[in-house]
Amino acid sequence: MNINTTINVSLQNALLNYFNTLSDIGYVEYPDVYKLIVLDMINDIISLKLTKYAFPTIVSEDDIRTITTTFYNLVNSTFLIPVPINNNGSTPTPNSYYLDLSYLYKYIAEQIVTINESINTKDEATNDKLDTAVLAINSTLTSINNTLISMNTEISNLGATDNLVIESLNNLASRIKILEFKI
């Protein structure tokens, strides 16, 4: 699902939520409505409906980046705009990558603690445990690489690079370097 479709579907869901809320409680707070309006504006820009009015027919990469960042800032900032869901049920937002990565970070950190303990005790009985830990870390690094590949695929599917994802990738790369050094 590319970013145009994602935003379009999000707008549809947001409008549905808006009218459902209005019919239920008769009121939606202004800040939430403003976010809905901004989403509508973004949709207008990328849907190229306004090219009749000298809007550019090709939106630049920089503009796409701005729009994507704004969109993901709006997502989940109000109940009106839920997290978009892909056709396969996954979530094409940078938030999901953060969740996966934080899990991996935690796992790696635990392994490092185990290694440190083994090295400090220098007990031969723990050598096997150390080898196991190193193997586990290697396997984790492989899964990180796989995650990176899938993230790159997701990014190319989105049609634009996202600052948050790039930042996340850079963090991950630097952490992998540190881990390799420690191992």
């Binding site: 309006i37 901004v38 009015y53 000298a54 701005t66 960042t69 704004t70």
Partner: protein
């Protein structure tokens, strides 16, 4: 009968594209394009072309006769002498007839929202740094939306009112 295919300002921001044909039921046709007249929001009359248009162009063939039934021309608005981004262009197409009937006049509106696009994108960048969405930003978008809806519903007087409000309220301001 005049059929307008396209009257809009191109992506370059200063070229007005006018594309239209005359649908004739007879052969040879009895009506041909006569001229293009452009009014602005200041000279617009809802009765037809004004007597003080900003641009007039006679549509003639190489022999200087009104024989054309299809036009697709680009007009450089930077030569017209108005600020393109702040002007609504009411483009009239007049036809002339070889018979006694009076040729009809059709028109469409062309506006450039290029400035709005640029300022909207820069405002979106600013939104990242702010916790809330400024009211001015919303106000401007709603005004632009109102203008577009008025144009679609052919409520030109109201569109002009909103257009003037948009430029008076947001003159020299970012969205």
């Amino acid at each position: 009968m005049i059929v307008i295919n396209n009257i809009s300002i191109k992506e370059d921001g200063h070229t007005l594209n006018v594309s239209a044909v005359i649908n004739s039921t007879t052969y040879p046709p009895t009506t041909y394009f006569d001229s293009i007249i452009i009014d602005t929001q200041d000279t617009y009359l809802n009765t037809g072309p004004s007597t003080t248009p900003i641009y007039t162009h006679s549509i003639v063939d190489v022999d200087n006769h009104h024989t054309l039934t299809t036009i697709n021309m680009d007009i450089d608005l930077s030569q017209v002498g108005v600020d393109i981004t702040k002007t609504m262009f009411f483009v009239y197409l007049k036809e002339t007839s070889t018979e006694t009937i009076v040729g009809e006049t059709k028109f469409d509106v062309a506006i450039s929202l290029r400035d709005y696009y640029v300022s909207a994108l820069s405002s979106l960048k600013d939104l990242d740094c702010k916790c809330s969405i400024p009211k001015d930003f919303i106000d401007t978008y709603l005004l632009v939306k109102a203008i577009l809806l008025c144009l679609e519903s052919k409520s030109y007087d109201m569109a002009i009112r909103y257009w003037n409000k948009y430029y008076i309220t947001h003159l020299n301001c970012t969205v």
